[in-house]
Amino acid sequence: MLELEARAEPSRPMSWLSPLLAVALMLAGGLVVFAALGKDPLDGFRVFFLNPVKDLHAISELLLKATPLMLCAIGLAIGFRANVWNIGAEGQFMLGAVAAAGVALHFGDSGRALVLPAMVVAGALGGAAWAAIPALLRTRFNASEILVSLMLVYVAQLFVSWLVFGPWKDPDGFNFPQTRMFGEAALMPALVEGTRLHFGFMIALAALVAGYAFLNRSHAGFRMRVAGEALEAARYAGFSTTRMIWVGLLLGGAAAGLAGMGEVAGPMGQLTDKVGSGYGFAAIIVAFVGRLNAFGILLASLLMALLYIGGEQAQQYLNLPNSISMVFQGMLLFFLLGADVFIDYRLRVRRRAAQGH
């Protein structure tokens, strides 16, 4: 008979093995799904998981996709460590895009070198400002930041729609819900010539390094970890919970806003009503698969980007619906939560006979 036995202390190796185990199980589950859909599993595997890394161009697309996930996830991880549950990175992402687009539309044609840095600042501020609303409501009125930040996503979506259907609509755009294309000075420089991978990827890597330093090396990060682990201990030590809520939400919002800026100034080159494409929500999975840790988030965001692109590939070459990538995301999270049980427990085989009387 199999039995779960509590470990004396949580297994450290297991906390790292668990995501790998989840990935392996997801791959195995994927083969079954392909077979069940009547596709050759190996062919499906090749299209889904190997095509996205088959050459330099494919890899550049992968990194492009991973960039906003990384940025959003590292920002969220800081708050999550302190049990500040910002679920609305998607909305902060859109507001960052809006703020950056505003700068681009007003100054983009001036050709000045300052336009792009100003857009970076505006993106971060836009996201942070949107996150400041749940922070204010939480600290002043104890309103749940989970609900407020989530609901603000839909407000943000409507705000973006209003802008691109209304005041910011491209007069020469055949009534499509989109702004004018940004001027050259308002676009992210390409990292690799001939690909869409842009400078935002470097910003995301820098954010990961900064996130690591903040969470693992700084006293402020330590205080947030204490608050997440034991709120009473944080109060006892005199760490202000109000400040932690502000820091968690503002940093998360700023990072998501930066990601939004990177999208409109990068691959999109304009603001459209499709700007929010789910990165903010997917980043929640990325943050947890990455163990709320900078290095883990780097790997998890690459994996998640792979699932996105693999889904597109499967649609294109295998005639599978695009929602196949959602199935994979779901399997990944499911197996991760399952494998996490083994951090605190171990499996034991127990003979029933020894216990009987």
Binding site: F222, A233, Y236, A237
Partner: protein
């Protein structure tokens, strides 16, 4: 302390009851430690048997095996002559075994009566059950309101709920794990009467305690455990506390050295007319509290838990800031509105009642837990970044100087036993060389050797000129270390009297709120309230 001798005097009495519980060769192996090794134990009907041993000697594990919380790795258990395998606590209760835990097993979000109902078979009617709880609590002197929620109860009150819950089931074997630590001397006597009466009616009692005087007063027989093995048996009435301590720890008990207080030190803590309405509707309001604590003295606050100790500690530490500045003065600064961190910078150090989750972060390493409160005083942070090397060194000093048994500075706080974690926390606070130390329950659940060590460390700190405020429910402890003692009752504080001029009996009476001058100020509104 004048506790009456056992009423159970017949030397043949205990032996004449039939063997109700027999353990043969019980062993329990955990992944990292052997908790019990070849333990034999016999408990007869009507016998009160003490289980003696230091923290970590395996007492609690043995009791959990009997109660079905955990299962033995080897050995056999016989109940009323028949071999049994106790599958679960529910099974144990069905057999007639009840247990009062040292660490409470109550659901915080449920009320007292709901918690009791969960332990009873079937679906009791809550109103009737509440009535029975009131009756039992009155009969055994364990006052508790059945409708209150457990999260709003103090540690002492929670223990009362545990005891009542057991007594309601009319058990044939009652296991009590340190039941008296939070009772007044009078209430201890009432409880002992109850236990003796239960024993006279044929109930067997297994009694775990560190208080050797109590064991001598109450128990017929004692089994001594050391490192998981039975190392001896004795009849406590024929032993001295010293000789039993020797059996327990294998050497003589260290004794605290306590010189006279340095007179005329400056005032380091002044509570000047402190009043505070509790945030929690079930909390105790603090009313007009005055006390001065001088450099070089230890002031103790006695009282039954739930009389405002938690609220007072939070107001002093800054976890509950006040609207006004003057009522709390720390080292001459009006600090009523300052945060806990700012108060620490004035020279305050604080050992809270709860170790895990408040005094220490359970999942974090000891080095991180050193950083928790010592960041400023030990300069563990530079330019916003943690100096992990220094934090590690400071944790190392706490471990070495306070003989904390642990797996090094990287060990998680929750991997330590309660006593060792308490030593670590006390060490962390004392080694920061505070000007004022506030300490709650310094030796709660700590074994005798470690308790003596902690008390001595507090006295040494006072001898170096620190002002110390100790809040404890153990009167013997307060008399051992304090220069002056005050009593808190229903949110009011008595005047502090020289410990040498007080007796345990006086303080016991004061604990019910009746100190000279209290009638005028406190009794009248209480009567109106009732």
């Amino acid at each position: 302390m004048p506790i009456p001798p056992p009423t159970f005097t017949s030397p043949h009495g205990a032996a004449s009851g039939h063997a109700r519980l027999v353990l043969r060769g019980i062993g329990k192996v955990y992944p990292t430690v052997i908790a019990n090794d070849e333990v034999d134990l016999t408990v007869r009907a009507g016998e009160i048997r003490a289980i003696l041993g230091e923290n970590g000697a395996g007492k609690s594990t043995l009791m959990k095996i009997i109660y079905g919380v955990t299962h033995a790795s080897s050995g056999r258990m016989f109940w009323e002559g028949e071999e049994v395998v106790v599958a679960s606590p529910a099974h144990a209760r069905k057999l007639g075994i009840g247990m009062v835990f040292q660490h409470f097993s109550l659901f915080e979000t449920l009320s007292v009566v709901e918690n009791v109902a969960l332990a009873l078979p079937g679906r009791p009617v809550l109103d009737e059950l509440a009535q029975r709880i009131v009756e039992v609590s009155a009969r055994y002197g364990l006052p508790v309101d059945p409708r209150r929620h457990v999260h709003a109860l103090s540690v002492g009150e929670r223990q009362r709920v545990e005891i009542i819950r057991c007594l309601l089931q009319n058990p044939r074997l009652l296991i009590m794990d340190e039941p008296t630590s939070v009772l007044t001397p009078q209430a201890v006597r009432t409880l002992f009467e109850t236990l003796r009466q239960l024993a006279a009616e044929g109930c067997s009692i297994l009694y775990i305690s560190h208080k050797l005087d109590e064991i001598r007063a109450l128990c017929h027989t004692a089994t001594v455990l050391r490192a998981g093995r039975v190392t001896g048996e004795c009849i406590p009435a024929q032993e001295t506390a010293q000789s039993m301590a020797r059996m327990m720890i294998g050497k003589d008990l260290p004794h605290c050295e306590h010189g006279p207080a340095t007179a005329g030190g400056e005032v380091r803590l002044r509570l000047a007319g402190l009043s505070h309405a509790a945030d929690d509707p079930f909390g105790t309001d603090l009313r007009d509290i005055h006390v001065d604590v001088h450099a070089g003295e230890i002031v103790g606050i006695a009282g039954v838990s739930g009389n405002g100790q938690q609220e007072l500690l939070r107001v002093i530490s800054g976890e509950t800031p006040l609207a006004e500045k003057f009522p709390v003065q720390i080292c001459g600064v009006e600090a009523g509105r300052l945060s806990p961190g700012k108060r620490r910078r004035l020279g305050l150090a604080f050992v809270p009642e709860e170790r895990l989750g408040r005094g220490a972060v359970p999942a974090m390493s000891l080095a991180d837990n050193a950083l928790l409160t010592a960041a400023h005083s030990q300069q563990l942070v530079r330019a916003g970044f943690v100096r992990f090397g220094r934090a590690h060194d400071f944790a190392r000093r706490c471990i070495d100087q306070f003989s904390v048994r642990c797996g090094g500075t990287g060990a998680a706080a929750k991997s330590l036993s309660g006593g060792n974690l308490q030593k670590f926390i006390v060490g962390r606070e004392i080694l920061q060389a505070p000007r004022l130390l506030v300490c709650a329950q310094p030796t709660w659940g700590v074994d005798v050797g470690a308790a003596a060590f902690i008390r001595q460390a507090i006295i040494d700190l006072r001898n170096r000129g620190c002002a110390v405020l100790v809040i404890s429910e153990e009167l013997e402890e307060l008399f051992e270390i304090c220069d002056r003692i005050a009593v808190i009752a229903r949110g009011r504080l008595s005047p502090a009297r020289a410990a040498s001029a007080s007796t345990i009996e006086d303080i016991g009476v004061w604990m019910s709120g009746l100190w000279p001058g209290a009638e005028a100020a406190g009794a009248a509104p209480e009567a109106a309230h009732a």
